[in-house]
Symmetry: C2
Subunit: 181 residues, 2 copies
């Protein structure tokens, strides 16, 4: 859908980073006037809801520098160049939890913040986890702690804002709908 | 929670825009090594799920330049300086839909993309809408079309990826849980 399309007059690259790329576009609005759009380009991300044999959810706790605090989240990571989202889901599961799977189910996808960023988040779930024989090393600047929580415990973490990000809050609500069915 | 805290060595301001502010921090990791963190500072945002008397949901369709397409979303906007989230919710409702309310219920809040941005999204719901006598002008560079959809219609929009952003997908799932109860 191209309703109210904004045509690019020119695009200025501001920053080309490891994760984010910032550009500022001059655009023509539907009424003919011009405006500026600040745009973050992001490779996209994948998250997975890992369910253990005893029906617990595996989370990772990690420090989030933009917030200056740690959050409890479902395992997730950026899409590497050329990688399909299912491959990323399994890679992040392996790197962050020590489990693998060959059975993923698609849950949802959404843009995390479409006003200023093009990051698309894909969420999968798996309740067919197998422990890896050998630990796989993840990113060297990533420090994680694993937690296994029941859905009731996870809902308590939401109340306490220890779980407090879009993909994980969505995942908890999704698991609640499964319980209701 | 400060688990795995990353201490800032220095912070470089890269860009100071209308919506986004980009900085790159040099940090000390828990193992003593150093790394860089690219951080988007954002004022935070508020969204509202407006429910009409005949139980339809009011959405806005607008062009999202970062995606180069339009999306159907619940009304939302940035927190203005010093404004509480409930005030923003009512202001955005008035500007974008022509309704107002004096009865809001908190639904959820979450960081949209905690890996690189500090944007916190607050979501409210109201089924006590009153039409405004006079139209209030919103942002002059914002072009919107209003849609009123049943929950079933909205779920179809999710399937077609016309509804495809974190706050709106969360809102649809939330309304589904209300229907299940």
């Amino acid at each position: 859908m191209k309703k109210f399309e904004e045509k690019t007059i020119q695009s200025e690259k501001i920053y080309d980073g490891k994760v984010v790329h910032l550009q500022v576009d001059d655009v023509t609005l539907p009424n003919g006037k011009t405006s500026k759009r600040e745009i973050i380009k992001h490779p996209g991300a994948v998250a997975i809801i890992p369910i253990t044999k005893d029906n617990k959810i595996i989370f990772v706790e990690q420090y989030r520098k933009p917030l200056e605090k740690s959050l409890v989240e479902i395992p997730a990571g950026k899409l590497e160049h050329g990688e399909g989202p299912e491959t990323t889901a399994i890679r992040e599961l392996e790197e962050e939890t020590g489990y693998t799977t060959n059975e993923l189910k698609f849950v949802a996808s959404f843009y995390t913040s479409p006003g200023f960023a093009d990051e698309l988040m894909h969420i999968y779930i798996s309740d067919k986890l197998e422990p890896l024989n050998e630990k796989i090393e993840g990113d060297e600047d990533e420090f994680l702690e694993l937690l296994e929580l029941t859905l009731e415990e996870a809902k308590q973490y939401v109340k306490e804002n220890r779980i407090h990000d879009a993909k994980t809050n969505y995942a908890i609500l999704y698991l609640e709908t499964l319980e209701m069915m």
